[in-house]
């Protein structure tokens, strides 16, 4: 069996992977560069809480059927700082502030995302 380090056809794979990466980015709706004002927390796809990011610094807790997550709003960003799920993967996400960014806690079926303009602010807002 010959074992070359690289072969010409490899370029094809590199190209395919690049396409895959770009496709994912587009498929997921891209990322906006503006900051948003409101963080929305959904569990199983349903909104369970909304938080203004412009209200200064505060923390809070989200209780779901599956467990709890603690978040911190500061400097117009939101970050999950603790959770009672097994891996605490959700705490590894960086703080988010733009529409398009998300923080996810998979065991709790929970997502935190950002929306921007006033027209997106739902009826109930937690201060």
């Amino acid at each position: 069996m010959k074992l070359p380090l690289f072969k010409k056809a490899d370029i094809l794979l590199v190209a395919l992977l690049l396409v895959l990466g770009a496709a994912c980015f587009a498929f997921a709706g891209g990322k906006s560069s503006e900051n948003g004002n409101v963080a929305i927390v959904t569990v199983d796809g349903e909104t369970v809480g909304t938080y203004l990011l412009t209200e200064g610094n505060y923390g809070g807790r989200v209780d779901t059927l599956y467990g709890s997550n603690w978040f911190l709003v500061e400097n117009n960003t939101i970050k999950v700082v603790d959770a009672d799920c097994p891996g605490k993967d959700c705490t590894q996400f960086h703080a988010i502030s733009s529409p398009g960014q998300v923080i996810v806690c998979v065991p709790h079926h929970m997502t935190v995302s950002i929306t921007g303009g006033d027209e997106d602010i739902p009826d109930a807002v937690v201060r």
Partner: protein
């Protein structure tokens, strides 16, 4: 010219094959442990250096698909039990199935270098993980994290591939 690799002569695995599998599985576990000790935080959970795939690629080329699959399964099950949790195991499983299938197909086509196969394997392993996470969280935005993971996975795969190629050459 006789091909120098361990042939599985059908039916029960030979003692050589079994031993090789056990060694590679143990090595894969050690690599997983090292990855666990050096957590990489780029703002996305589940990003790993991907060293353990060296063993899978090695198994694929030195032994065969079946052996590579078994080693992968053992590695994932044990590291999820020892250093991870149910979810990390599930993501890894999704990634591994996708990754190994693709690598086996690419290898069989004979058109690509081991390095490229390993690169694709690493990239797809991360894709499987992201897809699993996006599915479980019911949120498509999770895919936005993939381009970064793609880069890490591909680079790690290239590194693994080069190492494997060099080692396998010496084994001839």
């Amino acid at each position: 010219m006789e091909e120098k690799r361990l042939e599985n002569t059908g039916g029960k695995a030979s003692a050589n094959t079994l031993t090789a599998c056990a060694l590679l599985a143990a090595l894969a576990l050690i690599f997983s442990y090292i990855e666990y000790l050096v957590p990489i935080n780029i703002g996305v959970p589940g990003v790993k250096i991907g060293l353990a795939n060296i063993c899978v690629v090695m198994a694929l080329y030195y032994l065969g698909i079946k052996e590579a699959a078994v080693i992968n399964l053992i590695r994932i099950a044990l590291s999820a039990l020892l250093f991870g949790n149910l979810f990390s195991g599930l993501y890894a499983l999704a990634g591994a199935v996708l990754s190994l299938t693709a690598m086996a197909l690419l290898k069989r086509s004979g058109r690509f270098s081991l390095t490229a196969v390993s690169m694709t394997g690493g990239a797809l392993h991360n894709f499987g993980q992201i897809a699993a996470a996006a599915f479980m969280a019911r949120n498509i935005k999770v895919f936005l994290y993939y381009p970064v993971l793609l880069l890490f996975g591909a680079v790690a795969g290239i590194f693994n591939g080069i190492v494997c190629t060099l080692v396998l050459r010496k084994l001839k």
